[in-house]
Amino acid sequence: MKLHEITLTVNGTRETVSVPAGMTLLELLREKLYLTGPKEGCGAGECGACTVLLDGRPVTSCLVLAVETDGKEVRTIEGEATDGQLSTLQQAFIDAGAIQCGFCTPGMVMSARALLERNPHPSDAEITEAIAGNLCRCTGYESIIAAVRLAAERGEK
């Protein structure tokens, strides 16, 4: 099988890897770079558990080919904390009780991260629209919306 050599930046680190064309970005992140924060739920762009930021915009990494990300910048949940300190957004998820099983959380946080970067003071309707592509089956969405609101109040952006 033909391999393509690509270079991308993941959470600030340049990575050069060889990938087959049929490998998804999610598979590259999890299986070659060992970043297991992004999860595979549906594999069809429905659940959002694999959400990462591609050049600053949230995408479902199960529907992006790794080979398409040559020269691009990717951010995952692993890039949130710095020096062992949770980001304000991550802490807000804990403080608002927006975490239960944790499967949706990495994608949910990345969708919220992108929202706060483009709109530091979102309305509840804007938060709802931003996370509509992230399914959660545990906490319900109220506490997650509260977490994003709390992060915005604490000046996260």
Binding site: G22, G45, G48, L54, T60, L63, E68, S111, A132
Partner: protein, 289 residues
Amino acid sequence: MIGVFDYVRVSSVEEGCALIAAHNGGAVALAGGTDLLVNIRNTGRSPDLLVDFKDVAKMNQLVTDETVGVKIGTCVPLNVIADNKVINEHYRALAEAARSVGSYQVRNRATLGGNIANASPAADTAPALLVLNASVSVAGKDGTRKIPIRELFTEVKKTSLRIGEVITDITLPPVGPRPRSAFIKKQRVKGHDLAIINMAGYYDPDTRLLRMAIGSCAVTPILLPEINLSGHEPIDGLVKRLNAIAQNAISPIDDIRASAEYRRGLVLVLLHDLLSMLLGAEGGADEAT
């Protein structure tokens, strides 16, 4: 691995079309991939080669011009269209339709060209493009041509594109000074879902021309015949008249999202809602002028 295939990123339309032509039907164009990659994964059938057009500069441009209209490159993501000021002001149905496709993440990848090339009867942007009288520029190894959007869709997931042709851009002609257009969609859940029915309408209060299109109710999205709203016609009468036309034009099926009978009933409701939006709550063409 979602499949076994090769991949080439091209920098010009000509390069991409030549590659597709050289593969005798084994190569397909890749834009956002949000339909194509799911299809490959679900069917287990891969093309030999994906030709990625996202680096072709002119396929990524969205150009607005008052005299020419709006030209949207095939690879422009739906979120860019949903957020564009000119499209929101003058071609509102398309902005609303683009915003209703999938989730925010999917719309960062999904493209306008891909949504119509995939040719699902439920494609949300299709009814909007139909009422806005869009045309599609296509390129192939033998050159380029333009297809009115109303001649693009032929069957479920089939278009009048010839083998090896790709859509390069979609053009919306200029609209009147006070254009009104809108898009509505009935879906099973609020968050994101395919349409049970989607519908778009366009009304020009100066010329009194009205166009309506319905999706997810036949093998292709359906554009109803254009109507001139001369004279006063109460909205209830107009809804009845359009419903009679629509019921003849559609052929809905029972599927996982709804029954055919439900869809037929829903057409009447959505026609009423959409016409109320376009003509005003009091209804009637006179009210709108």
